[in-house]
Subunit: 527 residues, 2 copies
């Protein structure tokens, strides 16, 4: 069977000398699907880079409305092809067609694309600052070259390399995108790339504004992110893959934004456990089981203080983990990594309360797994107990008292999110203050009385956090327009003649609704 | 003679087991000055880190007004001690007491400190974003640990590790500072640290909010910036030292902001050279000679197109370089590096138009140096011609036509600033467009008809730029409040109970004048 074509240099073309090929695998049966996809050699990566540079030079001369039109068109075409997209994403990931893919993830994807369109038209994202007395004006602009986007396998649409949040942010900021698909979902990525390319063409953007490779040779990733022609990188995926890319990009001085593993600690204070053990147990299980536990915001660590309420809660949540059928994991690697993480936790002294084994039957399934460890044991080897475990698995850390719980918190690595449950009244208030002081600096997003798995696409969202959850604590991957700032350079114009300024920095507000900071006042007015 | 004491763990204390000692050297005579300063062993670095962590845990519970008071007090105390500070800075750097140190750099330093006070009080720097419908609020907050500040030797006050822009930005964002002084200026740093510590004490900040080491062993720098207790680093200095620190910090996932070497290309278009050759020649020479050429924004590359006007201009500027007395360089290393850079440029084919040798007489002086190379030669070995040359030295790149000039521009590394001179009318407009498209993505700040050496402390300033001028193209080191964002983490509060929110995110505006982005509108009102 012929290999599927690549989107390269502004056209679909057959791979010339592929390094190899691969197929997606059905998570339901473990058997390969029909279509065969090329693994690109570095020559194809370099062709994409050269074409991307030319596109990056063309883009600034076009009206930004074309980019906005592209996003709107792309969203509409995705909706028109929703059936086909949802079906192939389901076949490749095992995620339910409904509600997950059709009613949640697809609308989230098109919603993000439309927000990107609006951000491009409205222009406030670029944070124009005008100092009229000094004659100095600045704004964020594109990085000056193509941006590589490495998409993950767990959100085949909303984080897809060629349709997801990083893609939208990089392109909305004015950068062409070289999308590197995830090998679990080549068919989904191809269909989205076809749709994107049609929108590129119809909107009149340079054809190489969007390029897509399904997969590259192992060394090509680091070579791409450190290439002199590349402007920057976004990566969502495993810590090991992310750190390899980070090292290469850092050495070359190339910006890279990584969303890697995150354990998202949950602290359940005594008053909350006393007050509503069943409710919290249900919320915890549901959050852990969402998408078969393949959420980067899944609560992977649960901290609580020993006592009768904790025992009662643990009994309830253990029962939920035990009695619920396991979900389908998206790939063999996910399953193997989960099994090996659980095994490692057990070896280090964690006790298995539920699960802890591959589930019977066809396909990629692992029993819902809950583990427990004493806080003292955790604090003796904190690294060993913070291993990535993608899947429905969580580790309970049992402390003797609030002191010991705070001690354990101080050993935590950075996470995307963390949540504190407390009694509805003020019984837990003193403990909350102590916990919050420790947890606040460890997480990008702090929640109260709510599981971290819901990540609203809000301008106030932070889907980011301290290392190793991400590579930089100052940026968010979700939430337009803030997410655009990752793919932008600060550009100052000092004494530049007025007619040569970009529209965003001229005296006249370019559209009457863009926010600008003029002489210390945020305003939509002209200067 | 006893070694000078260190500011460590909240008090001045003698070094316990110094790794060695050093003295400052008079740039006028090359002879060592009296006082002897300790080189710290890593144990002292670790003590500073532990004390800094405790201070970072105390700071959030204090009213931010105390930090603001500190900055105001510090500024006032510096002014009270201006004579002593200016004298020692002059003795250690060779920079003129007047106007440079007393009338320019000292007021710039106190001005920055007062801007930091105002930024802390006004609070808009933290960019509060409130999404009231989703119940999500976010802002920037401190990194959660001490920040290391490595100061340079060329601006003994305004960029000093314990009084300069990075110091002010890191502390204004809520982080304790561990200042690592520059070995050229230990006496200046000590006097400023004494002043800072007095202000810390009087303002009621935790005593270890400001700590200072004069110098550390060679391996202690990388160990400090990658230490698990450190939150982040600011560095201003040479590229080689900066890259060593960057590699260590990157590997540990620690934020680091570097301001390294920068060549700051100048493009002189034909119409401008025809119109005002003498004026531009004088501006260029004065900009190159400012502070004996020890400015990170010194124009180190000058691009122009061959022709009669270029010849005329070159004759004029060469005469200025030749006929003016050389300035005093701040240290032996600066002199040696400059000599070796010029030698390297010559070896690769640059022709010396003026200077090119150590100047006669006492102290650290190098003849004002102007070099010339053909654009074709430059473009054949662009790296060799972009070596750091701190001092009054500049390389002219002569192109055959605008095509070749643009070709040379595409080989440029990132710079802090770049400037285009054009005819006052519109004669150069077509060439400007072509040059601007190339230059814009290579520099953080673009100027018209002005030399890059003046860096106004403006909210619209960008003293930053693409690698290797800095380590990240999205941040500025000068310009409060934007410079604070380097030392801040994005903190999101998702469904957090109202009374637990920080003052900046509560419904009520904390001071009635802070700007917040509430539901898409920048406003100073309450929610």
């Amino acid at each position: 069977m012929a290999l599927q074509p690549l989107l390269l240099e502004g056209r679909w073309q057959p791979p010339r000398h592929p390094a190899g090929s691969f197929r997606a695998v059905s998570p339901f049966t473990g058997t390969p699907l029909d279509e065969e996809y090329p693994i690109s050699i570095f020559d194809e990566v370099e062709r994409a880079l050269r074409a991307g540079v030319l596109a990056s030079e063309e883009l600034p001369s076009l009206a930004v409305e074309k980019t906005a039109d592209f996003f709107d068109l792309f969203a509409r075409l995705i909706e028109e092809r929703a059936d086909a997209i949802v079906q192939i994403a389901h076949r490749e990931t095992g995620l339910p067609e409904e509600p997950r893919l059709r009613n949640v993830e697809l609308p989230r994807t098109t919603g993000q694309l439309r927000m990107a369109a609006e951000a491009v038209r409205e222009r406030s994202w670029c944070r124009a600052v005008i100092d009229s007395r000094a004659g100095i004006r600045s704004m964020y602009g594109p990085l000056g070259g193509p941006v590589a986007v490495f998409g993950p396998g767990n959100f085949p649409l909303a984080f897809n390399a060629v349709a997801g949040g990083d893609f939208a942010a990089a392109l909305a900021a004015g950068n062409p995108v070289i999308a590197k698909g995830h090998p679990l979902i080549p068919g989904t990525t191809r269909l989205l790339a076809e749709t994107a390319f049609e929108a590129v063409t119809r909107a009149g953007l340079p054809p190489a504004t969007v390029q897509m490779l399904y997969h590259v040779e192992r060394d090509s990733g680091p070579s791409l992110v450190s290439h002199s022609l590349l402007a920057g990188t976004a990566f969502t995926g495993s810590r090991s893959a992310g750190l390899r890319l980070k090292e290469a990009a850092d050495r070359a001085g190339k910006p890279i934004y990584l969303e890697m593993s995150s354990l998202n600690p949950l602290v359940l204070l005594p008053g909350a456990l006393e007050e509503r053990p069943g409710e919290i147990a249900r919320e915890l299980f549901e959050s852990c089981a969402l998408g078969a536990g393949q959420f980067c915001t899944k609560p992977g660590l649960v901290l609580l203080i020993r006592g009768r309420a904790a025992d009662d809660f643990l009994a309830k949540v253990t029962e939920l983990f035990r009695s619920s059928p396991p979900g389908v994991l998206s790939g063999r690697t996910v399953l193997d990594r989960l099994a090996s993480s659980v095994e490692s936790l057990r070896r280090h002294g964690a006790e298995i309360l539920a699960g802890g084994r591959v589930a019977a039957g066809e396909g990629f399934r692992y029993a819902n797994t809950l583990l427990r460890v004493a806080a003292a044991t955790f604090s003796n080897a904190p690294q060993a107990f913070q291993a990535e475990a993608f899947g429905t698995a969580s580790l309970v850390i049992l402390a003797e008292d609030i002191e010991e719980l705070c001690g354990a918190l101080s050993h935590l690595e950075g996470s995307l999110a963390g949540s504190i449950y407390s009694q509805r009244g003020n019984f837990d208030e003193a403990a909350y203050s102590r916990v919050e002081a420790r947890l606040r600096v460890k997480v990008g997003r702090l929640l109260n009385d709510r599981m971290p798995t819901g990540v609203a696409v809000s301008p106030a969202m932070n889907h980011g956090g301290p290392y190793p959850a991400t590579g930089h604590p100052g940026f968010t991957a979700v939430g337009i327009p803030a997410s655009l700032l990752r793919f932008a350079a600060l550009r100052c114009y000092d004494g530049v003649r007025p007619h040569r300024l970009p529209p965003e920095l001229k005296d006249r507000n370019p559209n009457g609704r863009m926010w600008r900071l003029i002489d210390g006042e945020w305003t939509r007015r002209d200067l």
